[in-house]
């Protein structure tokens, strides 16, 4: 999978012949794998004696068509969107930031530690802004070691970011249990940000406004990577670091910048969850969103709008599946099977597509 965006080139064309080619390709590369993954996972459901149509129907009704479900789906999107924004930057620049979960958690802890103590000092909006800024800073700091090792020593960032995630998860736990523990409750958790002080909700719904900021973040990142000189530099580094160095780009510096931006967004994701939804962090909390968003961003081929759509679908699936676990009796783990088969089939479809265009030319 190359870092160049294929969907950019595949914009609807004028001539009818080209647009029919585009449709063909859309069906083959996007719609086909999704349907095939639903069928494959449906067969898995059948093997366990569950009617797939009933299950899928329930998930759609609960996650998408019910008012409460739709609001939960939209709220769940917020942290996933911020994570996607960070991953798009890193992946387009050819860097594997697989440590977003650690950056996410530490950002969340920073926001949870700071916000309740600022409530009485700062006006509401300033407290929220401060929370987000500190979370981004802490997230970015957590990527400094992998970034420097990658930039100046050439150490593979997959390993270092994974290590930093394991470290970060434990460190977040230490901080929650020992340093920022709320002394007034018996539950091990940080101090709670009162509901009125959290991020505003949209209109008369329960949807957190974090979703809007998340969408803006993804779009901003997408435009930065595709429409600005800075984005072009980053993509050049991603496509061929040696060529980029020959073209006079400061590759190590850009590498560190990419890590800081990517991890900063992961920190924002943590803050959006704490300041918008939970209000505090309980001991041993680790939703591990990162490992799921990584494949989604891949499925979207690092495209911003594609990522937003997939995250919406994935949130629907998550909310629907959470409820289906209780009502239909299929554990939530089934979503992993669905995402896994989708990833593999999508990669296969891309392979078929590459072969097809190779034989045609």
């Amino acid at each position: 999978m190359s870092a160049s965006s294929e969907l950019d080139d595949a914009a609807p064309a004028q001539s009818p012949r080209r647009s029919s080619r585009w449709l063909q390709r859309f069906v083959l590369v996007t719609l086909g794998p999704i349907l095939a993954a639903l069928v494959v996972s449906g067969i898995v459901l059948l093997l366990f004696g569950v009617d797939p149509l009933e299950y899928y129907g329930y998930v759609v009704r609960r996650g998408l068509l019910s008012s409460l479900g739709l609001q939960q789906t939209a709220t769940r999107m917020a942290p996933l969107l911020f994570l996607a924004a960070g991953l798009i930057v890193a992946f387009r620049a050819g860097l594997w930031n697989l440590g977003v979960d650690g950056q996410f958690l530490l950002g969340a802890v920073a926001a949870a530690a700071l916000a309740p103590s600022l409530v009485d000092i700062l006006p509401g909006w300033a407290m929220l802004v401060a929370g987000f800024c500190v979370a981004a800073l802490v997230g970015a700091l957590w990527s400094v070691v992998p970034a420097l090792l990658r930039a100046y020593q050439g150490v593979n960032e997959i390993i270092t970011t994974l290590m930093m995630t394991f470290l970060g998860v434990s460190l977040a736990n230490v901080l929650v249990k020992l340093v920022f523990l709320d002394p007034t409750t018996t539950v091990p958790q940080t101090r709670t940000l009162p509901v009125p002080d959290r991020m505003p909700r949209l209109f008369d719904t329960t949807i957190s406004s974090g979703m809007i900021w998340g969408i803006l973040a993804v779009l901003a990142v997408h435009l930065m990577m595709t429409r600005t000189a800075f984005g072009l530099r980053l993509r050049t580094v991603g496509a061929n670091p040696h060529a980029a160095a020959h073209a006079g780009l400061n590759v190590p510096l850009l590498t560190v910048a990419v890590f800081a931006i990517s991890a900063g967004f992961a920190g924002l994701a943590g803050a959006s969850e704490v300041l918008g939804v939970t209000g505090n962090i309980q001991a041993d909390w680790n939703p591990a969103y990162g490992l799921m968003v990584i494949p989604l961003v891949f499925l979207a081929r690092f495209h911003g709008v594609g990522s937003i759509i997939l995250i919406f679908l994935y949130s629907t699936l998550l909310i629907g599946a959470e409820s289906a676990a209780r009502r239909v009796g299929v554990p939530q783990d089934f979503t992993l099977v669905l995402v896994s088969s989708l990833l593999i089939l999508l990669a296969l479809a891309e392979w078929l597509d590459a072969r097809r265009s190779w034989t045609e030319s």
């Binding site: 999978m1 898995v44 366990f48 594997w96 070691v145 090792l149 020593q153 050439g154 150490v155 593979n156 997959i158 390993i159 270092t160 994974l162 290590m163 930093m164 394991f166 470290l167 434990s170 460190l171 736990n173 230490v174 249990k177 020992l178 490992l291 799921m292 990584i294 494949p295 891949f298 299929v330 554990p331 783990d333 089934f334 979503t335 992993l336 099977v337 669905l338 995402v339 896994s340 088969s341 990833l343 593999i344 990669a347 296969l348 891309e350 392979w351």
Partner: protein, 311 residues
């Protein structure tokens, strides 16, 4: 400090280092083979989990722990076969497929567990041990080191076998060529795809065996997500070992000891929080990378699919 050096503490630390270290050793040795041949096998976590599930299932239904280990190997190889087909033969992205396979196995085994075992939670009886005569009677060291399941000794022997294979045989050279310069191997008449596929299958078998050890000997039962990142630690061990099986062994024991330090400290009555101790092995790895990072060398063609005749 004196309390830390009691026989009970040392004994539980050593036992823990071995019980937690053997799965890491098997995973690390397996990953090392894939990496030598040029495949970055991120799916190893899924292979371990598949081995843990199938290993437990076979051991439980056949009431034979050895058949259970074979089941574990089969489970790992099953996932590895998919990985070999998708990543080596079709050259799909190794990281995407690796993550996808891990997620898929996590989901499948959790579902299987839910529909099969979630009501009964079956447990295996305690495994047999081989007590090496006389050696077991040494205080502290004896029961920890020499009273273990035979698989432990097999795993230790495999370290030496692999070290010999890599250093002294043609096959070892062929493996390295597949990872360093696949095109050269191809020209010399070697079969890159076959070598790499075999290496991935070997990784699957070792990882599956490691998973089965976790389920059948470490825990005595299967729990969803029970490998908990052991496969990822295996990847790190393989990368740090720079192709040397003995280094994987050293790393696995250190990681195993650190992972089990919590239990040992509880035995010794210390109250250092577990989360702090769990950070130690990872912090140690980062420190090693910061100091010797520049020397951590990986095969040149690692992660790059080989296509004959491609420019």
């Amino acid at each position: 400090m004196e309390a830390l050096l009691t026989a009970a503490f040392l004994s539980s630390l050593l036992t823990g280092a071995i019980v937690a270290g053997i799965p890491l050793l098997l995973a690390g040795l397996g990953e090392q083979m894939s990496e030598k041949a040029g495949v970055l096998n991120i799916g190893i976590e899924g292979m371990m989990l598949a081995g843990a599930y199938l290993g437990f299932l076979t051991a439980w239904t056949s009431s034979s722990i050895w058949l259970g280990f074979l089941g574990g190997i089969a489970g790992g190889i099953l996932v590895a076969a998919l990985m070999a087909l998708l990543c080596v033969v079709l050259r799909l992205n190794q990281i995407v497929i690796g993550i996808a396979l891990t997620l898929g196995v996590e989901g499948m085994t959790a579902l299987l567990h839910h529909f099969q075992f979630s009501r009964t939670y079956p447990r295996l009886p305690a495994p047999d041990r081989v007590d090496l005569p006389f050696l077991t009677d040494i205080p502290v060291l004896g029961p920890s080191l020499f009273g273990r399941h035979p698989l432990v000794y097999l795993a230790l022997i495999s370290v030496l076998v692999l070290a010999f294979l890599y250093r002294r045989t043609n096959l070892g050279l062929t493996l390295r060529a597949a990872g360093e310069k696949p095109a050269a191997l191809d020209v010399a008449g070697g079969h890159v795809i076959a070598i790499r596929s075999a290496a991935v299958l070997f990784t699957g078998g070792m990882a599956g065996l490691g998973g089965a050890y976790m389920a059948n000997i470490g825990a005595g039962l299967f729990i969803p997500y029970m490998t908990g990142g052991a496969g990822f630690i295996g990847i790190v061990l393989a990368m740090l070992a720079r192709g040397r099986p003995l280094w994987v062994l050293a790393g696995a024991l250190i990681f195993g000891a650190a992972l089990s330090l919590t239990t040992a400290l509880q035995v010794a009555g210390s109250n250092i929080p577990t989360d702090v101790i769990q950070m130690l092995p990872f912090a140690a790895v980062m420190l090693v990378l910061v100091i010797w990072g520049r020397r951590a060398r990986l095969p040149a063609a690692l992660g790059v699919g080989y296509e004959r005749g491609a420019r």
